[in-house]
């Protein structure tokens, strides 16, 4: 007989059962809320063959599994977020008993409360900047008339310099966009730029920024982002949101 565990999606405050009624947990299991000291832990039952240590090691290597669990996790977090402040957990946070959940809520009570205070009435926005694919197409690349060795070296040096300048420009734009947006919001983080093999995007990602924005200031935040994009036509700027505060409900100050 398979053993069961409890998958913890999020810790929240004031979860309304109505907000969760339409949502289901992983494998269509019902969601339940374990309330403890004013914190609501949103859980569903999972099979430990799948979500135990051994199962997770195997399954985390499986993109289809990973996608299904990530999407399922996100759907629950989004549903919980309808009610109010939410601190989403990392993927596959599994407990073997309700006492285990309560114990962890006790242990981290202060930090969880602080995290929920930080994200209440706010959402995460993502702003990415991409440098053009070939930032440094050499302006003059004569393929005919090889010329002297000295010419070749001069040309080579000029190309290297041009490439360097374009890269510097791209990084400077990323810094400017990030610094300007960071000044517009409550908190910000620079996540690691994503690998084009995963995203399929063109060009080098120079900024993968996450911004925690007050809901009533979201309009002016996106306006500033749009202005920054217009001021820096060399790069492509992508703005997405609002998302649950995934990058900011951390237990340490981000």
């Amino acid at each position: 007989m398979a053993e069961h565990g409890q998958y913890l999606y999020a810790v929240a405050r004031g979860v309304e059962p109505a907000a969760l009624s339409a949502a289901r947990g992983l494998h269509d299991q019902p969601l339940r809320v374990l309330e403890h000291r004013g914190l609501d832990a949103v859980l569903s039952t999972v099979d430990l063959d799948e979500f135990g240590e051994e199962g997770l090691h195997r399954n985390l290597e499986d993109l289809t599994w990973l996608e299904a669990v990530a999407r399922g996790h996100d759907a629950v977090v989004q549903a919980v977020a309808q009610s109010g402040a939410v601190a989403p957990m990392r993927l596959a946070t599994i407990f073997t008993s309700d006492d285990g959940v309560r114990g962890r809520l006790d242990e981290l009570y202060e930090a969880l409360t602080a995290a929920l205070d930080r994200v209440e009435g706010r959402h995460e926005w993502s702003v990415k900047v991409y440098a053009p694919e070939r930032a440094a197409e050499p302006s003059a690349a004569p393929t005919t008339a090889p010329g002297s060795g000295a010419d070749y070296l001069r040309r080579k040096k000029a190309q290297t310099l041009e490439k360097q300048t374009a890269e510097d420009d791209a990084l400077r734009i990323a810094d400017t966009v990030h610094d300007t947006l960071a000044a517009q919001c409550v908190a910000s983080r620079r996540l690691r730029p994503q690998d084009p093999r995963l995203t399929g995007h063109e060009g080098t990602m120079t900024l993968n920024g996450a911004y925690l924005v007050d809901d009533h200031l979201a309009g002016s935040f996106t306006e500033v982002a749009t202005r920054l994009a217009e001021e820096n036509p060399q790069s492509r700027v992508e703005v997405q949101g609002p998302w649950p505060p995934y990058s900011f409900a951390t237990l340490e100050q981000p």
Partner: protein, 66 residues
């Protein structure tokens, strides 16, 4: 050429890569009873592995068809 993409669906549909960035990397670190390091999950490796697996499956399917 200025390109601004602003997507703000009410439901905030997040791309898988963005989601995994957050769910594996930056989400609340609250250890459950099952302890496993997510830092070791190599997404590029997982992605390439998935691609290879699906290509192999297609090749097998093609083989059967002929």
């Amino acid at each position: 050429m200025t390109e601004v993409e602003t997507r703000s669906e009410p439901q905030g549909q997040i791309s898988l890569v963005d989601l995994l960035d957050r769910l594996l990397g930056t989400g609340v670190v609250l250890a459950g009873d099952v302890v496993i390091s997510l830092a070791g999950v190599d997404l590029v490796g997982v992605r390439l592995h998935a691609l290879i697996t699906s290509v192999r499956a297609e090749m097998r399917a093609d083989g059967r068809d002929r």
